[in-house]
């Protein structure tokens, strides 16, 4: 009887393991059934998983490429922005945009004095040279933008006599001449009023000259065409 009990004990031990395994396996099978994956399809599914894994790898590579492209585009946008900002600045410096700031307005008009006998009436008119001197004086005093009767002074601007009128930027202008200049108003004003300066000379001839210091002077941008037929840009490395 002792022998029997001994074998029953061992068998019972294995039976416990058997029971645990049975329940676990049944549960696992139920779980598989619940997830609606028939075990026969497991291989198909694992194959699909492998394939989609491979696809995912390809897509990930694509994402990487696209990200790189995007960052390049963003970078390009950034450079475009800086170029745009630079361009705006350069346009302002070149005098292509209307600018505003503190400055002076100089008004010159022909003399009302009648020419006496033996005197040339031309002496009592405002000449191109007078305006050129005023503009020159203003630039010398630190003017950042100057216009004459709405014609912005730029690198190619001329002020010359054109018969009875004056030509600035190839546009004919007549008296009264209004010269707008942006800069330090006091500096500009005192430069013009220098002793024996340009205004003194003009006033000696009876030419009406008025200087107004203003907190806000508008100087229009250059409106003409810009053609550089002969001047060519030299790359930085090739400059002498």
């Amino acid at each position: 009887m002792k022998r029997t009990r001994k074998f029953e004990l061992y068998v019972a031990g294995v039976c416990i393991i058997l029971g645990i395994l049975l329940v676990g396996q049944v549960r696992t099978q139920e779980y598989i059934g619940k997830s609606q994956i028939p075990s026969r399809r497991l291989e198909d599914l694992s194959d699909m998983l492998r394939r989609s894994d491979a696809e995912r790898m390809i897509l990930e590579k694509e994402v990487e490429v696209l990200r790189e492209q995007m960052s390049k585009v963003v970078e390009g946008e950034k450079t475009a922005e800086t170029i745009r900002a630079e361009l705006a600045k350069v346009r302002m410096v070149a005098g292509l945009t209307t600018t505003e700031g503190s400055g002076v307005v100089v008004t010159l008009n022909d003399s009302k004095r009648q020419a006496g006998p033996g005197e040339s009436p031309e002496l009592f008119l405002v000449h191109d040279n007078d305006i050129l001197q005023v503009v020159n004086e203003l630039f010398a005093a630190g003017a950042e933008a100057v216009s004459v009767n709405g014609q912005r002074m730029i690198a190619t601007s001329e002020v010359r006599c054109s018969g009875p009128v004056i030509s600035v930027n190839n546009v004919r202008i007549g008296p009264p001449y209004e010269i707008h200049a942006i800069g330090n108003p006091d500096a500009l004003d005192s430069a013009l009023h220098m002793r024996d300066g340009i205004l003194d000379t003009l006033r000696a001839w009876g030419i009406e000259a008025k200087v107004q210091k203003l907190p806000a002077v508008q100087v229009p941008g250059y409106k003409g065409g810009l053609y550089f037929q002969y001047a060519k840009q030299v790359p930085e490395g090739a400059q002498k």
């Binding site: 022998r3 029997t4 009990r5 001994k6 074998f7 029953e8 004990l9 061992y10 068998v11 019972a12 031990g13 294995v14 039976c15 416990i16 393991i17 058997l18 029971g19 645990i20 395994l21 049975l22 329940v23 676990g24 396996q25 549960r27 696992t28 099978q29 779980y31 598989i32 075990s39 497991l42």
Partner: protein
């Protein structure tokens, strides 16, 4: 004869009380393990009723058979051959044989008792 049944029920209860679940990929191994255990139980009972039970043989048989079945399954998995079927068939035949012997033994006992 009651102790093994009690053990089985105890095992089932233990498993039911714990949230035991095997990973799906080990499902095949657990299945072959169940077969090995079942075969072992049948073999043990047969040896018991025949009076030839030896604990060393029983335990070593259980462990070695389970290990062999598992290794077979694993190798079959790697080779792409269902070697697990061989183990399944072997265990099944043994279970049937053992149950047959147990049945005859019990029947003999029964008839001896009723005969007397």
């Amino acid at each position: 004869m009651i102790l093994p049944i009690v053990g089985l029920i105890a095992g089932i209860i233990i498993a039911l009380l714990t949230p035991l679940r095997f990973p799906i990929e080990y499902s095949q191994y657990i299945a072959i393990g169940i077969l090995a255990a079942l075969d072992c139980v049948c073999g043990g009972i047969r040896a018991g009723v025949q009076g030839t039970f030896d604990s060393t043989v029983f335990i070593s048989g259980f462990l070695v058979n389970t290990a062999l079945a598992t290794i077979l399954t694993m190798v079959g998995d790697k080779l792409g051959v269902d070697l697990v079927l061989g183990a399944t068939v072997a265990f099944s035949i043994r279970i049937f044989t053992n149950v047959g012997i147990i049945r005859r033994h019990i029947l003999d006992k029964w008839f001896k008792k009723t005969g007397k």
